[in-house]
Subunit: 385 residues, 4 copies
Amino acid sequence: MELNIGMIGYSFMGKAHSNGFRQLPAFFPELGVKPVLKVICGRNLDAVKDAAETYQWEEYETDWEKVIARDDIDVIDICTPGDQHLPMALAALKAGKHVICEKPLTNTLAEARELLTVAENTDKKTMVAFNYRRVPAVALARQLIAEGRIGEIYHWRAVYLQDWIIDPDFPLVWRLEKDKAGSGPHGDLNAHIIDLALHLVGDIDSVVGADTTFIKERPLLEAVDGGLGAQGGEQMGQVTVDDATMFLARFQNGALGTFEATRFAAGRRNYNHFEINGSKGSIAFNLQKMNELQFYSRDDEDHIQGFREIIVGEGSQPFMGAWWPPGHIIGWEHTFTHEFRDFFEAIAQDGTFSPDFAEGTKVQAVLESVVDSAATKTWQDVPKI
Amino acid sequence: MELNIGMIGYSFMGKAHSNGFRQLPAFFPELGVKPVLKVICGRNLDAVKDAAETYQWEEYETDWEKVIARDDIDVIDICTPGDQHLPMALAALKAGKHVICEKPLTNTLAEARELLTVAENTDKKTMVAFNYRRVPAVALARQLIAEGRIGEIYHWRAVYLQDWIIDPDFPLVWRLEKDKAGSGPHGDLNAHIIDLALHLVGDIDSVVGADTTFIKERPLLEAVDGGLGAQGGEQMGQVTVDDATMFLARFQNGALGTFEATRFAAGRRNYNHFEINGSKGSIAFNLQKMNELQFYSRDDEDHIQGFREIIVGEGSQPFMGAWWPPGHIIGWEHTFTHEFRDFFEAIAQDGTFSPDFAEGTKVQAVLESVVDSAATKTWQDVPKI
Amino acid sequence: MELNIGMIGYSFMGKAHSNGFRQLPAFFPELGVKPVLKVICGRNLDAVKDAAETYQWEEYETDWEKVIARDDIDVIDICTPGDQHLPMALAALKAGKHVICEKPLTNTLAEARELLTVAENTDKKTMVAFNYRRVPAVALARQLIAEGRIGEIYHWRAVYLQDWIIDPDFPLVWRLEKDKAGSGPHGDLNAHIIDLALHLVGDIDSVVGADTTFIKERPLLEAVDGGLGAQGGEQMGQVTVDDATMFLARFQNGALGTFEATRFAAGRRNYNHFEINGSKGSIAFNLQKMNELQFYSRDDEDHIQGFREIIVGEGSQPFMGAWWPPGHIIGWEHTFTHEFRDFFEAIAQDGTFSPDFAEGTKVQAVLESVVDSAATKTWQDVPKI
Amino acid sequence: MELNIGMIGYSFMGKAHSNGFRQLPAFFPELGVKPVLKVICGRNLDAVKDAAETYQWEEYETDWEKVIARDDIDVIDICTPGDQHLPMALAALKAGKHVICEKPLTNTLAEARELLTVAENTDKKTMVAFNYRRVPAVALARQLIAEGRIGEIYHWRAVYLQDWIIDPDFPLVWRLEKDKAGSGPHGDLNAHIIDLALHLVGDIDSVVGADTTFIKERPLLEAVDGGLGAQGGEQMGQVTVDDATMFLARFQNGALGTFEATRFAAGRRNYNHFEINGSKGSIAFNLQKMNELQFYSRDDEDHIQGFREIIVGEGSQPFMGAWWPPGHIIGWEHTFTHEFRDFFEAIAQDGTFSPDFAEGTKVQAVLESVVDSAATKTWQDVPKI
């Protein structure tokens, strides 16, 4: 089965998604789905043309509405800043496409709800690209929890730490502008660890949080590269998003949770770390060492208890049979291959995919409750979705 | 110079303090102070007699007021549960003794303030036994901060995780009774990381927190050993303290902080862990690997930046010249030797010691603000001391 | 520039090489070389047809001589067992092809010398696929040494540990047959760490070694998968290679070296680990954590010395600018992309590539000296190449 | 029961032994043995007088023969350089004392044999102070092996790395003089890991090794401190011992072993590291993290296999019940307390102690075989003891 993809956006996520599509058939041939990199779309003609060539897309386009209007496109993949997710996803759903949307789903809960209403009235599949669920070690964590290995969960403790804007001279890229990005590390990074918390622990009842902006003014942007690099000029502009947001949570099942996202943790480049403590054991994960999972079991005999460093790579572990022999690690980009594998399987077999727009909306509800809590300085109940 | 010690309490802390006193002259001979283990005091005659023999005290006593009344005692060392700190410390100060008091200083802020008022009107030295300031790696962390190596501080992130009561059958020891212990891990463990935060980052302006008690009933106590072990019977009693308390903080200098203490983190026996992120670098510490300090410097050249694992053991590092050649690690109990070393130096040279009762009261103010915050579900300003 | 590839072999290495070819143009577009996956060759028609489809080769073939005879093929890539390297590589060189050959170059030093003689009389480029030189962390290690950061080298200490045949029921695959594989972990794994030693430390003067075969008989092979997995039957056969080989070495520059390869190190799936100690610092690497490099510098101030854990991922570090932002790790297979990148650059610009067949022959000389030493129980001088 | 100790030597080991004696009764009161620090002996009157005071010995003495001649001394503890072990230990045995001797037992195998002959004809207890057997993690390793948890042993892999003389200006202390020290890191450090190998794996059949001296001349010594520090003058002298010695071994049970000791491994202060691989699992240990033991079990279910980091501190683990609650680590010096505990128990109960002089002689046989092997450049059979 071939699925024709139209992708909007060609920067960091565009590069990563393109790679995921290309890798899929070579490593998961038994799935029987071949994504066709049909058309890539971006506003800058030269840049999108280059991207099409490098990332091996058949065609390029500068008008996203034209991409969505095409009859030969099966899946729309939205890799743009958050302020454009709503119109694009709405249009795609209305045009009868399956939709992949980068996280966070939207910049506000209201937008997410609007989108969800439409999504729920279509038979097309939706996906929010919370790719870290499909790090094999994270999928293994979920499996261990399902197997009852850590028992009843008492604690969730997560941070997502980066440091790429710690230099005050780093310029005002779109991710630092509220009208485009919606928020700073809160929507960018907390969104990820909220999604993991909902996935691994369960629903969140209430939250209290706080944020701050350490560097309030930065040089206006002059140039940007395909990664997260950029250069600023002499004029200054206002940073309108948070530099760091932290919050506490109470889960429905009685567990306590802590969350923190920042772009000011020197030396922590991409440190998405969580630990879960339960009545029978504990699990810990660190994205920078994403092929490893720490697992402690109270079922072990007393004198040999200790955190195991499981090097995830066995055929018996999620996704890993597709790659290399044990001990030959995989990289960050493989998470995209895995999420596309499962999404396309849902399309091919008319199954379900998680996280879909409903789950993406739940993340949005938590994000917005934290923002409300920071404004009111009190605990907030998380709205039900 | 000899200093005669009278110690009240002979259990876990009594064992640890006794050892610190005994070790001091052999490893810090140049200090010229010899603590004399004069009298140990406890309510149970047989037990205190045994303790006196094992821990090498000259005399034993069952009435603490008699110990304080003795003219030949220079220093009173209080190692009892928190509800007795106020009367004992008050009496000791009034009797003109130097006073060492185990942490937390008292069970309430009001008690601490009462004690502080008396302490401020004496020329005797006071000490709250926050021994983790004098883990050599922590003292080195403080030195690195003072040297400006991590720049302006943005983040403090600390947890103190234990698991010794995770078994629901573990009995109702005094540490689980509010009238004796004041609180659970909040006063026991958060007290430590609050003290470290004040020491390493600075004053805290406001906090918001939450706590929970996972196991609400436990077997009544039947027997106890000198460590933290104990055995329960068939009758059940109410747990009246928290099993876990977490909170967020804003520091005066603009830094954000997270704190969490629990006794329900499976596999984390004594995991006092903090990380500090600043504009120029980061520092991380873990008590279970207390001879190591993680340090990241943005001053390093770009392609060789990374967290250094400093194995603290050089003569150039705090306290370590007294012990063994580099690479020969020291143990947890050495922190007591170090705090006594500094306290006795303050006595011998009429200098200052930190943390004294004023600083202990500051910790109490934060602890109590968190409790208030949990009750009101809003942020609380921390009272100034 | 397009380069047409003909690859012989389609199993584990075939899968890895195919991927490297496919990935290259998307991540190193500025190189301007596009490898065309022209024809894949293997003896089993159905299997090679499947492989061609999965790995995206244009054509498949069962007769390797036909592949080499084709005019439209620029590069022959040999991914077969070692006993076939000599005839295939000889034929390819004589047909005027550039040649990539999996390691070890041949099964004996005599074969390697024969091949080298031919290679030296052609203007075509040769490559022995010692891919671990181009792990970015290893390339960084080489750079740090070249920058003088560890000074004069005193010690090389390397192990390559695996455990995939630790189960005595694991069957007699070709890698356990001397006539096909030449040797066991010695040629398979020691070859890698010898190559790294020559690359990072320099030439080896003399060696002494020993080997053993722990499990002398195994079930004959019944089925095999594309990785290292396999199933045995009821009949038993003789293991004719080593299960483990260890040796000591003296380098020309006076450094001492230890080497060890085994397939019987429980829990070490693919543990290629080396440490280098020099007069100014040390470096350590572990393939299972291949995005990390440990570096210790005596140039650091005394109280902050410690092994840095450098997470290799900066644009300033070898190869990493091509992939993702810092902290987003890459996987094992990327080493192939990197070696093809450099090899094709050598072809495109008529430059040199290292390791070529001359360097591959040097590795062979060390391997064979170790075997001789094990037989004679004395130190052996390594023949000069 | 009281045991009167006479200790000869007051430097690094003297400090460590004194501490072990002092700590013993406070932490192992149930043993019922109290070592009395009766007399300390050294050639320098002022220094030994100071040591007596600091380390709390009742008396001091400058003539070791007088110490041995005293009727009131039960145990002679020899902490001098290796060239004096033979006369002192012989005299002590002949005087009917129990004898503790620092490692290595002697500087030559012939001396050790001479001593052993006398020792075997006395009913007094002997001990070679290989203290690392009684690191709790090492004792736990031994227990796990005895429990069959790693099965049949295939590999022993040990290094003992230090760097304290890496600076060429470090002076010619006695440890660098062959006539006093016997050898360099070979007798000092390899002795330790040989003892551990014999203890954990079994007897060694044959060895082959090599050594080197990187820095052949050093400043003559001017001053020395109690640790390993020292200062040199302007005149130079010859280094007459090895700077590094490495060797391979075949064990009687068929296992292969590698050993290496050096004082030139930058950043490795006291890195005594071993790994054991067996048919059912693996164990790894690092003295710089001596409260931790790595353990891998093939008995674990496939998808949760991984090296456990066991933090040794449970009451169920060797020696740890005596100290602090779990997670409160102990230091290097506690190994001495443990070895004295077991030795005094052997005395008190007329039991056996291991390692005694017979086992110390076995270590000597391996050490000397390695030296012979380095001289002859061939494998050497280890003489039976």
